[in-house]
């Protein structure tokens, strides 16, 4: 069976600076992977390269989403193909109403996949359900996208988008940072609802605490632009004790 995400010896650069140095990662449907690693090791870079952010250039290797070469797809095509990135720093979009944005996103994806568009009433109903799960005030969703949201509120909003869009592969870039303890539970609960045998989830995090709520099948340690160690969920606990010092020296 084809893996959901298959990254082979990926090298990528930004502004002429190589950040990913031969990255290998395979995520199969149904799996949850955690990526941990020191600041600046290229975790966000990986997520941007996969989603196609302008400026990030693949120089070698490959990244395949369900067998399809991501580098051959535009950013919106990747999203429609099922890739979702919950941003480490979600952007504020002044003047664009959240509902308008969600409707445009969902229906553009559906259209591209040849599916029927969701009607406005169905849409509102669905968003209300999700807001309830994520303990978000509907009033917030009447505002422009993320505008004036606190850090934690933005992370909830990202999670809501993800749950609405039902992607095949979810990449959560530090979705837990900035969340208070209660919010962490609420958001984790939302993410767990997405766990399914058809979906893959990659959580990038600095804190093993998140993994208490979202139990990973596999934990990776990333350092200097590649994965340097892979293990089970006990690896996260070990990292909590030892830190990254030995991996950084290994990578150097």
């Amino acid at each position: 069976m084809t893996a959901l995400l298959e990254i082979r010896d990926l090298k990528a650069e930004i502004a002429g600076k190589q950040i990913l140095n031969g990255y290998d990662l395979t995520v199969k449907a149904g799996e949850v992977h955690a990526i941990m690693g020191p600041n600046g090791s290229g975790k966000s870079t990986l997520s941007y390269v996969l989603s196609g952010r302008p400026g990030y250039k693949i120089t070698e290797g490959q990244a395949l989403l369900a067998g399809a070469d991501l580098s051959q797809m535009s950013v919106d095509e990747r999203a429609a193909a099922g890739l979702f990135l919950a941003f480490q720093y979600p952007l504020e979009v002044p003047g664009v109403a959240t509902m308008t944005f969600l409707r445009a996103a969902l229906n553009a994806q559906r259209k591209k996949r040849g599916e029927e568009e969701m009607s406005s009433p169905d849409m509102i109903k669905r968003v209300k359900e999700l807001a309830k799960i994520l303990d978000m005030d509907m009033e917030m969703l009447r505002r422009p996208v993320n505008v004036g949201f606190s850090g934690g509120e933005k992370k909830r909003a990202e999670t809501l988008q993800m749950m609405l869009l039902e992607p095949k592969l979810c990449i959560l870039d530090e979705t837990d940072s900035g969340l208070d303890i209660d919010a962490l539970k609420v958001v984790s609960n939302g993410v767990n609802q997405l766990r399914s045998k058809d979906r893959g989830i990659v959580v990038i995090t600095h804190y093993q605490r998140l993994l208490d709520y979202i139990t990973p099948d596999v934990v990776h340690v990333q350092s200097a632009g590649r994965i340097v160690r892979t293990g089970g969920k006990e690896l996260a606990l070990e990292l909590e004790e030892t830190g990254y010092a030995r991996y950084q020296s290994e990578a150097a």
Binding site: P54, D76, A80, P90, L91, V96, L106
Partner: protein, 441 residues
């Protein structure tokens, strides 16, 4: 100098010569109403002729160069043109009272002047002049002191328009919409309207200009508005002229104490669009909000020239103009704030923001402050930029195609000026117009 014609040092342009000819013909065809006013206006025009780029106020819109010939004054429209105008300029969801003009002529059959609200009077200009309506006779051309050749031409040739009076204390909820639809043939239209909002009265006025013909035609429109004490007017002007049309429009307003003017002009099409506003704040505590949006493509050129004259204390003016420029279109914003001696506590702000969607597009901004009082707040600024790449990426990362992402962000940019429109149904209709315009090539 009396009536002696002034001989300009230079040779008249073909257009100027033609205008003089037409004016003489108009005179000899039996003196029209307001003959004195017209003659004085044409004399004033003749002294300068068509404005050109050496005239500071017309620096970026050289009318002398642009107006190569004068199209004939419009003949009464054919029945087909009238039928065609039946649904012109409809604003979805807005139950406006329509007053329709086709090819420069009032079209009573397409207009809705029945059951006017108590205290509201709406009359075509020709009817008001024929009846010798006192307000029309004394106020037209006298609402503000405007020394401008295009406005002078309008006064000299004014053909049709409306005279509206909203009686003291009357609140007219239903928007009054003037619809000016161009005819199919090349023509020149001189449209003139007068709106008097008496003490404490309130109204919404929409002026829609529409033309579908690819033929070149010229619109010279002028609206004079008198806001008496505590009166309030929301005015919306939507220009969606034909691709080869030249549209020059003058707005003159006088605000008495405590009057409120909220003005929004939306330019959606036309080869050359010039909107000049002369706002005279004569009473203390009056407030003028002047907003505009240009959505231009191809080689379209839109010029917004604004003169805010603060002559009374504690008055406010807020101007915000937004332009979205594609291809090699061009937007001009000239804003002048004058604070006269004694107009203390004036609060005047002016901002022009431009979004360039193409490298060939161009924005020219020229703000000017002239302040003769010491206790005032005045500010002006302008920005020119492109869409934020990071936001485009964010939207696309959610599956929104690039073109749609750009439209959404562009709409959001324009949204700020539309959101300030008070009448909700009008606001929604304007958003829809903008959105449609941004999505059509």
């Amino acid at each position: 100098m009396g009536n002696a014609p002034t001989t300009p040092a230079r040779k008249l342009t073909d257009a100027e010569a033609r205008l003089a000819e037409i004016f003489a013909m108009q005179q000899s065809a039996g003196a029209p109403q307001l003959a004195k006013l017209r003659t004085a206006a044409f004399d004033a025009f003749s002294k300068t002729g068509l404005p050109n780029r050496r005239d500071e106020a017309w620096k970026y819109t050289d009318l002398r160069a642009l107006l190569r010939d004068v199209k004939p004054l419009a003949a009464p429209p054919e029945e087909s043109a009238k039928q065609h105008a039946r649904n012109a300029a409809t604003l979805t969801g807005v139950a406006s009272r329509r007053v329709v003009f086709v090819g420069g002529y009032f079209a009573p059959a397409l207009s809705d002047l029945a059951d006017l609200e108590a205290g509201l009077s709406v009359m075509s200009l020709s009817e008001a002049l024929a009846k010798g309506d006192a307000a029309a006779m004394t106020q037209i051309g006298n609402v503000g002191e405007v020394d401008d050749p295009a406005f002078a031409l309008n006064t000299a040739f004014m053909g049709e328009g409306v005279v509206i009076r909203v009686g003291a204390g009357v609140c007219v909820d239903r928007p009054i919409q003037l619809v000016f639809v161009a005819g199919a043939q090349p023509a020149t239209y001189f449209l003139r309207s007068l709106v008097i909002v008496e003490k404490g009265a309130r109204a919404t006025l929409i002026e829609s200009f529409e033309g579908e013909t690819a033929q070149e035609y010229h619109v010279n429109a002028a609206t004079e508005v008198v806001l008496e004490e505590g009166a309030s007017l929301e005015r919306l002007k939507i220009s969606h002229e034909g691709a080869a049309a030249m549209h020059v429009s003058t707005f003159v307003a006088s605000l008495a104490a405590g009057a409120l003017l909220s003005d929004f002009g939306l330019n959606l099409g036309g080869a050359v669009l010039r909107n000049q506003s002369f706002i005279n704040i004569n009473g203390p505590g009056a407030h003028a909000a002047m907003r505009g949006a240009n959505i231009l493509k191809g080689k379209e050129h839109a010029d917004a020239t604004l003169f805010l004259d603060h002559a009374a204390e504690r008055s406010e003016s807020k101007a915000l103009f937004k332009s979205v420029l594609d291809d090699s279109s061009q937007a001009v914003f000239q804003g002048k704030i004058l604070v006269r001696p004694g107009a203390q506590k004036t609060d005047a702000r002016m901002m022009a923001r431009t979004l360039l969607l193409s490298e060939g597009a161009q924005a020219n901004c020229k703000p000017e402050l002239e302040i003769f009082a010491d206790d005032v707040q005045c500010a002006h600024g302008s920005t020119v930029g492109a869409l934020d790449e990071n936001l485009i990426f964010y939207l696309m990362a959610r599956g929104i195609p690039q073109a749609e992402a750009q439209s959404l962000l562009t709409e959001a940019f324009v949204g700020e000026v539309i959101d300030a429109v008070e009448n909700r149904s009008v606001r929604d209709a304007l958003s829809a117009l903008v959105s449609e315009r941004l999505r059509t090539q």
